[in-house]
């Protein structure tokens, strides 16, 4: 089995446009949550979110003319982050041509305004079919980001689009790691992108009652592990990582941010809307990652939690971390950057993977903000309020998704 390292990162998030801006904001404990500005959300029960602002969509559209038929925000965000990662890696076109591409995405983008003009029709589909003068896409295929990146750079070893909801961003990194480890390629670009900050996305999630409705205090609304937490806040963004075999990175003189040591994924097989209250899936996922890394609980020095701020997730995740790590769980920091970024759905696992790699390389743990009064059921050291020096070698990063999909990665200090 080959060793695999992270040699480049591209990141765009509600807390910053670009890797360095995002990382600086995360370690400063700055919230990216605010009132929704991209559309009039005044009639919705939830009117706050983590928007990427400022973001120059036109610059992306000019570089990718094929993008014209879509308004899908996550495509633009994904292209920005992928390009930043590619630039950070300083890879040649030939190298990218033979690389693997893994893109994680969430919900398909359907613009309500493209449908409402056919609302009076008896059959919505027939009316859309009859509208021969309309040529915009009704739905943007979820592989569109991968397709555009493929056209621009190649990625002939396979362009994979993963739609595993909130676990997608972690799964894409883990699956690319598995393929590189087994020698199927030397290099991969893996990441995820998502934006649910649109009427259908925000409205749909509101119906599920998973979102905080604290519209008057947006920056305090997402409070993972706090006793008063009421729900998560939607965010948008994208993150891509360049993964290489250690051998390949050394040969071309690349300096790794971190090494990926292990990966596990599991299913709750419980319910599509709620986590298994026993946390079996979360436990299996973390144990799988430890097993593949050949590490014991004593080897884990920090946990980047899924930490959504929903009443159910945070307590179940805390119990699962304690079950897997035992006494070690009480000795190490466990932090949740969603307190600052909001829940970027498919993209969350990718930005948290990048943050874990940066924690390992830059020796700083971003805080969990808004944690004032810990829930008695959440009794770990969550790095409340301010960032902290990281003195260890490994970070375990969790993602748990709607539908019961779970994924965990372990990052270690390279070298």
């Amino acid at each position: 089995m080959k060793r695999v390292v992270v040699t480049a990162i591209g990141m765009i998030s509600p807390v910053g446009v670009g890797r360095e801006a995002s990382w600086s904001a995360l370690i400063a404990g700055r919230s990216g949550i605010g009132p929704i500005t991209r559309f009039d959300a005044s009639s919705l029960p939830v009117r706050i979110g983590g928007e990427v602002d400022p973001f120059d969509e036109d610059a992306i559209r000019q570089r990718y003319p094929n993008i014209a038929k879509t308004h899908d925000r996550k495509v633009m965000l994904g292209l920005y982050a992928a390009e930043e990662a590619i630039a950070d890696a300083r890879l040649s076109p030939e190298t990218l041509r033979d690389a693997i591409l893994y893109v994680g995405v969430g919900l398909e983008s359907i613009r309500l305004e493209d449908l409402t003009r056919h609302a009076a029709a008896e059959d919505l589909g027939l009316s859309l079919l009859a509208a021969k003068d309309e040529d915009g896409w009704i739905q943007t295929p979820l592989d569109f980001t991968a397709s555009l990146l493929g056209r621009a750079y190649g990625f002939r070893r396979g362009r994979y689009t993963n739609c595993s909801a909130c676990a997608a961003g972690t799964q894409v990194v883990g699956q690319a790691w598995e393929m590189l480890r087994e020698g199927e390629a030397n290099i991969a670009l893996a990441g995820a992108t998502d934006s649910m900050i649109n009427p259908l996305g925000l409205g749909g999630f509101s119906l599920l009652q998973a979102l905080s409705e604290e519209n008057d205090h947006p920056q305090r609304a997402c409070r993972p592990f706090d006793l008063s937490r009421e729900g998560t806040v939607l965010g948008e963004g994208a993150t891509f990582l360049v993964l290489e075999t250690l051998e390949h990175a050394k040969t071309r003189g690349a300096t790794p941010y971190a090494e990926i040591l292990g990966y596990g994924s599991s299913l709750d097989a419980h319910a599509v809307s709620d986590p298994d209250p026993a946390g079996r899936g979360a436990v299996d996922s973390m144990r799988g990652a430890l097993r593949s890394a050949k590490l014991t609980p004593a080897d884990i020095d920090c946990v980047s939690a899924h930490g959504t701020g929903t009443p159910k997730n945070d307590a179940v995740e805390t119990a699962a971390i304690k079950e897997v790590l035992g006494d070690r769980a009480l000795q190490i920091p466990v932090h949740a950057i969603k307190s600052m970024t909001g829940h970027m759905i498919a993209a969350s696992g990718a930005i948290e993977s990048a943050a874990a790699a940066l924690t390992v390389s830059r020796r700083v743990i971003p805080p969990t903000i808004n944690l004032v009064e810990p829930d008695p059921a959440c009794d770990l050291d969550y790095v409340p309020g301010t960032s902290r020096e990281f003195t260890g070698r490994t970070v375990l990063s969790n993602s748990f998704g709607f539908g019961g999909q779970n994924a965990t990665l372990v990052f270690g200090k390279s070298g």
């Binding site: 979820l142 002939r156 699956q175 409205g203």
Partner: protein, 380 residues
Amino acid sequence: MEVAITGIGLVSSLGDNPGDILSRIGRGETAIRPLPDPGGVSPCPGYAPILDFDAADFFPENKTLRMMSRDAQLAVVAARRAMENAKISQGELYRPEEIALYGATGLSGIAPREISRLVRGAAADDGSLDLERFGTVALRRTRPVLSFKILSNMPICYVSIFENIRGPNAIFTPWEGNAAQAIAAGIRAVRSGNVPCALVGGCDVKTHTLSIAGLDRLGVFESWLQSGEGTIPGEGAAFLVLENLDHAAARGAKIYARIRSVASRSIDDDESPEDAIAEIFDEITNRPACESIAPNLIVASADGEPRIARAETNAMKQSAFEQTGKIYPKLFLGNTFAAAAPINVALAAKSLHGRIERGSAIASCFGPGGELSAFLLESP
């Protein structure tokens, strides 16, 4: 570590039994029928629906099933059939966490009737989007379960719940080539020893007007206008049980086929599709220990879309498969997109089952999106 196919489960417009489907294809029977098209607006002349499918027939007591989208229902039924076919009862042979699940779903195929209420509620009198009405009228008329009918991962998550599968997993989307990647991921999981068993497959529903309109805007039916030939939308689901070959043999499992090699790649815009397809055909047949295998059958990916059909035919010529037997399931089942790859692999596997002489078959999988895969199977 070798991988065997030990279970097949299908829901298709030509039936549910892979042997019968092969026979019906052999007799030239088709499930394709004229598309009801009152206004003459359809971009294609036919479709291939599964008639008389009612999920309640399979899980009569289960209310959840009735809350699921049709593609999820098809997936759950096909997955159950595959597990039963492999004689893997829940929790008996393998622990739930020892079974991996890799699946694929298509473009969101929500039915018009499921979203109409939301759309009507959000429309102003002039047909524009009225965000005030969206919040105050449309959302209040909408059942929360709608989100679970739109989320692309849900059909496969429902499979995990119904089959109590808790192992490694991933869900790919949205085309046939991506579904082939899901099958390849399952093969990798078993071959690497990560799990002894994987359930792999896909589902798709492209038979109602909204999903046909979605495909139309993406240009999937363009060739009908240009040449009078093209893709016919269909629907279906297929799942395969993969097991470590030694494990399967030791338990006396029915082994449809051994998976000898898999090749996948993406195609560049400036590349000839036939060269790319020929490259993966060559790759699977030139792998170590596969050089002497001459396939008896190719389950082809092409349908009526002329460019794709020409590319695959030319690739077969380049790879010296001109004399090999071929079947073209999509010409009879329609194009089932995310379900097409597992259907092709299932039919290739079934063609090998029960053979007296040693045989081999190739399942070819590609289509929109530019992802290509081929699987070389050999009789056990």
